[in-house]
Amino acid sequence: MKESALDTNQVFHVSSRIAYRKIGGQIVIVHAGAERMITLNSTGTVIWELLGGKTVEAIARNIAELFEVDFEEALKDTVDFLKMMHERGLVEMKRTDSA
C-alpha cells in the first residue's frame, strides 16, 4: 500500500527520552524535552503496549484480531500511528535481521 512506505518488518521501541504511564486504561506520554503530553486512544494504547519486540506486521495482526478488522486496514492504521509517533520522537526504530 502507498501509505505503507515503512518497512513492516521493522521493530519500534519506546524512546528513552519519554516517560509514560497507563491511567484509566489509556497511555499518557510526556516527552522529557518538549514538556508535551499525548494521550493515546484505545487502539493506540494497544499498539503502544505491543512495542519493543514485535514487527509492525505482527502488531497489525494482533490489532486485526483484537478489533476484528481486516489485516490491510489494521496494517494501515498501525503504520500511520507509528509514523506519527516516530515523527514526534516518541518511538525509535530498530532494524531486525530476520524478515
Partner: protein, 280 residues
C-alpha cells in the same frame, strides 16, 4: 552556607539551611535589597523543621544556581554533603532556558521555585499551580489554568475557611494512599507560612467557569490529564519524569478529583456539601 552567584547579571546571595522535605517547611524568609544600580542581593532563608522519620539527618544540601551569560544556559547544582563537609555528589538538576527577566525580582523567584520543585521531586511531591482553602481541618484544592478563577475562589471562600494558599500548593500521597496538601512560600506573595498549613486533602476541584454550580466526579485519566499541565517545572530527565508521573497517578487515582463548574455566590459551600453527601 552563604554564597553569591551571578544570575542574569545580578549578584544573588543564597543561604539555605537544611533544605529537605517540603512538609517540614516551617518558615521562609526572603528579603531583597538593591545595592547600587547593578548589584541585586537576595538573601533567602529556608528554615526547616525536620519531621521525625522523614529525612536523613546525615546529609545537607547546597543549591547553586549558575548563569552562563554567553550560552544563556542556567544550571542548578545540588551538592550533597555529609556533616564532615566531604563532597559526595554534585548533580546538575536543570539545564535550559529558565526564562528569567533580568530586570525584575523574577530571577530570584524562579531560582527558589525551581529549587523547591526539585526538593518536591526528590520527595515524590507535586508542586502544583493551584490554590487551597482549609475548611474543617481539611484542604480543598482548586486547580486550573491561569485565569480559571482558582485565586478568586480561594479569596472568596476565605470567610468559610482560611485561604491556605493562593497560587502554589504541594501535594503528595503517603503509603496509605492519603493525599496531603501544603502551602508553599510562594502561596501568598512571599507571605510566611506556618506548620499548621499542612492538611489532609478532602477534594481536588478542577475549575470550569459556568453559570450554575455543578460537581462532577472525574475519572483517574481525566484527573491525570488535568493535573499534569498544572505541575510546575517538571523534570526533563525521563527517569525523574516517570517518577513524577507515578506521583500524579497516585493523586489522580485517589478519588478526590472532581470537575467543579461554579458560579460565585453565597450558596457555594452549601452546594458543595450537598453534592459530596450524594457522592459519599
Amino acid at each position: 552556607m552563604h554564597q553569591s552567584w551571578l544570575i542574569a547579571g545580578k549578584k544573588v546571595k543564597v543561604k539555605i539551611h537544611n533544605s529537605l522535605f517540603p512538609a517540614a517547611w516551617l518558615n521562609l524568609f526572603s528579603k531583597y535589597k538593591i545595592d547600587g544600580d547593578e548589584q541585586f542581593v537576595a538573601d533567602l532563608y529556608l528554615n526547616l523543621v525536620p519531621q521525625e522519620g522523614w529525612i536523613n539527618q546525615k546529609k545537607t544540601e547546597e543549591i547553586v544556581f549558575e548563569h552562563q551569560r554567553e550560552s544563556a544556559i542556567r544550571r542548578i547544582f545540588i551538592e550533597r554533603r555529609d556533616f564532615s563537609g566531604m563532597l559526595e555528589q554534585v548533580e546538575s538538576r536543570y539545564q535550559g532556558d529558565l526564562t528569567v527577566n533580568a530586570d525584575s525580582d523574577e530571577s530570584v523567584t524562579v531560582l527558589v521555585r525551581t529549587c523547591l520543585s526539585f526538593l518536591c521531586e526528590d520527595a515524590s511531591a507535586l508542586l502544583l499551580h493551584a490554590s487551597a482553602v482549609e475548611r474543617r481541618g481539611h484542604y480543598w484544592i482548586f486547580c486550573g489554568p491561569s485565569g480559571s478563577g482558582k485565586t478568586t475562589i480561594a479569596r472568596a471562600l476565605s470567610g468559610g475557611g482560611a485561604a491556605a494558599s493562593l497560587d502554589r500548593v504541594v501535594l503528595w500521597a503517603d503509603d496509605a494512599g492519603t493525599v496531603w496538601g501544603r502551602s508553599t512560600p510562594f502561596s501568598d506573595g512571599y507571605g510566611l507560612t506556618g506548620p499548621e498549613h499542612t492538611g489532609v486533602v478532602a477534594g481536588i476541584l478542577h475549575i470550569e467557569p459556568a453559570s450554575e454550580i455543578d460537581l462532577i466526579e472525574m475519572s483517574a485519566g481525566e484527573a491525570f490529564r488535568s493535573l499534569l499541565p498544572q505541575v510546575l517545572a517538571f523534570s526533563r530527565e525521563p527517569e525523574k519524569l516517570a517518577h513524577l508521573m507515578d506521583t500524579i497517578g497516585s493523586v489522580s487515582e485517589s478519588g478526590l478529583n472532581h470537575r467543579l463548574r461554579f458560579t460565585k455566590d453565597e450558596g457555594f459551600w452549601k452546594e458543595i456539601d450537598r453534592q459530596f453527601e450524594e457522592i459519599q
